[in-house]
């Protein structure tokens, strides 16, 4: 058996990032993701990397912008309020087409809210919290192994598509520990960074910018981004299915909620209920086709989220027209995590 580490999700992200070759971390403290800067401040200096605790989340993401512009893998991490502060710069980087990794170990909100797990930031992550209607790649791990694997994947896809990437976790997947099997970074072929700033040397000047004032230029850039998003939808959606083939109720949930839901689905199956689980792994691009396929037969969907209904909209937009989508939400906050038993109860209601 391979060596298994036993680490928190936050640490798994760091291990994944370092394995992926990321040597530039810029961040600012905020619960529940402090393990990330703490880990990086300890490990990066040992491998000639750069760790800077910035003066703010805004400074941190702008440092990422600068480091990423040189073609280096760079990342930041924060949690909900801190991520909100990064919206302007993320919009810039989306337009500049700069690869980078932003980790949101989200907490409960809105406002200062609390430090417990929640999925209140789905809209912000997936529907362009910043101005201008861009998108970023959003991956939602639901295990410690995925925190590691998807971090590596995020860096690769981010470079291939020249798009900022986000790991959207929460206090559960961030602070939970599980065994992790580390493995080397996959040998993905990556495009040459012909855009990276390096000092022009004897070459052509390179510019990284988001201002487009020439007639039609900005519109063209928007359509260019749009087609990139389309390519992501065509090629990079990822999801997990569990017992969906024979389901007459399709439960869907992402991230930590999906973990709880999965146990509920298993319990329901033990009771003989025909239930399956569809867990999107990429939130953007959203695996719409998986929902369309699954709802060819199964006409009832129960969406479970740790909020008052956000992914719900994407689910509704993805299912076949005659499918009914129901929602069960436990938004935010101390003492509000649903239990498998509770979700089982919901499943039972919709199966009867």
């Amino acid at each position: 058996m391979e060596k298994r580490l036993f680490v928190r999700g936050n640490e798994a992200v760091c291990l994944g990032a370092i394995e992926a070759g990321c040597r530039h971390y810029f961040g600012y403290p905020i619960t529940p993701q402090n393990d990330i800067p703490e880990f990086m401040s300890r490990e990066l200096p040992r491998i000639d990397g750069v760790f800077i605790q910035a003066e703010s989340e805004i400074a941190a993401i702008n440092m990422v912008m600068g480091a990423a512009a040189t073609g280096n893998r760079a990342m930041t991490s924060s949690s909900s309020p801190g991520i909100s502060l990064k919206m302007e710069a993320i919009s810039f980087m989306a337009c500049m087409e700069l690869p980078c990794l932003i980790v949101n170990i989200s907490r409960s909100g809105p406002g200062l809210g609390g430090i417990d797990a929640s999925q209140g930031d789905y809209f912000q992550a997936v529907k362009a919290g910043g101005h201008g209607g861009y998108h970023i790649l959003v991956l939602a791990p639901s295990s410690i192994q995925e925190m590691y694997d998807l971090t590596m994947l995020a860096f690769d896809l981010s470079e291939i598509y020249r798009i900022p990437a986000m790991i959207l976790g929460d206090a559960v997947v961030g602070q939970m520990k599980e065994p992790l099997i580390p493995h080397p970074r996959p040998d993905t072929e990556l495009p040459e960074k012909t855009w990276a700033l390096r000092g022009k040397g004897d070459g052509e000047q390179r510019i990284i910018k988001s201002l487009y004032l020439g007639d039609g230029e900005l519109e063209a850039q928007n359509w260019k981004l749009h087609s990139k998003y389309q390519a992501l939808k065509d090629n990079e959606t990822r999801w997990e299915e569990f017992e969906t083939a024979t389901a007459s109720l399709l439960v869907t949930a992402f991230g930590s909620a999906a973990r709880i839901a999965k146990t509920a689905v298993m319990m329901a199956r033990e009771e003989g209920l025909k239930v399956g689980l569809l867990r999107p792994i990429t939130l953007f691009p959203f695996p719409a086709e998986a929902y369309a396929a699954a709802t060819q037969q199964c006409k009832k969907v129960l969406d479970i989220e740790l909020n008052t209904g956000q992914m719900l909209e994407d689910v509704k937009l993805s299912v076949t027209r005659d499918t009914d989508v129901f929602f069960y939400g436990r938004p935010s906050g101390t003492g509000s995590l649903p239990t498998p038993e509770e979700l089982l109860e919901q499943i039972r209601r919709h199966c009867s």
Partner: protein
Amino acid sequence: MQQVFKRPLSLKDVQTHFCPGCHHGTVHRMVAKALDEYDLQKRTIGVASIGCSVFLYSYFDIDVIESPHGRAPAVATGVKRAKPDSFVFTYQGDGDLAAIGTGEIIHAANRGENISVIFVNNTTYGMTGGQMAPTTLLGQRTSTSPYGRSLENEGAPIRVTELLTNLEGVSFAARVAVNNAKNLMDAKKQIKKAFRYQVEKKGFSFVEVLAACPTNWGMTPIKANERVGTELSDYFKLGVFKNVANL
């Protein structure tokens, strides 16, 4: 006969969008000249800010990254830390650096980031149409201080260079102007010095340039140029305020 004054290599041979008499043009040339003199063009990464100087990449023949308003020092930090062998400067206006970018400039300076900052103080938000800036003089009428800036309501104009000299990470801090012969020569010298300090890895170097914005001051270029030497220089004293090499 020899040509004794030429356009610097690092400056593209193109028309700028600056207004007649705008000192941004002069400062651009000086910065380009300093890059030329230390042979930095090929390893320079310029960091543009948001303001009338946003088109830095259109005028300088160097690699450039644009940064969100006020964040140039953070972007420059990322660039420099990721590529320590590059020469990195930011070029920022007073709205950009002294208002929204206060946190970024203070902390980059305090960390002693090995970058150079060119700070063009024209006492107004030029690009957006002449609003009050943190450096707007008392009594100065702008489009958002139509009755003149007042000490009571808006506070006194901030002297950024003096403020930064309090921070240990700053290796060099000077205030110059480009309004007359003497100041022009001095400005060239200080900008060069600031750049040399970065090359020598002495840490954060900073040059504030008092500049005219004839358009938003509602003055002719000549009057605006004069105001730099009078009202502006009266309040914002010219000089070298910090120089670690002198210690």
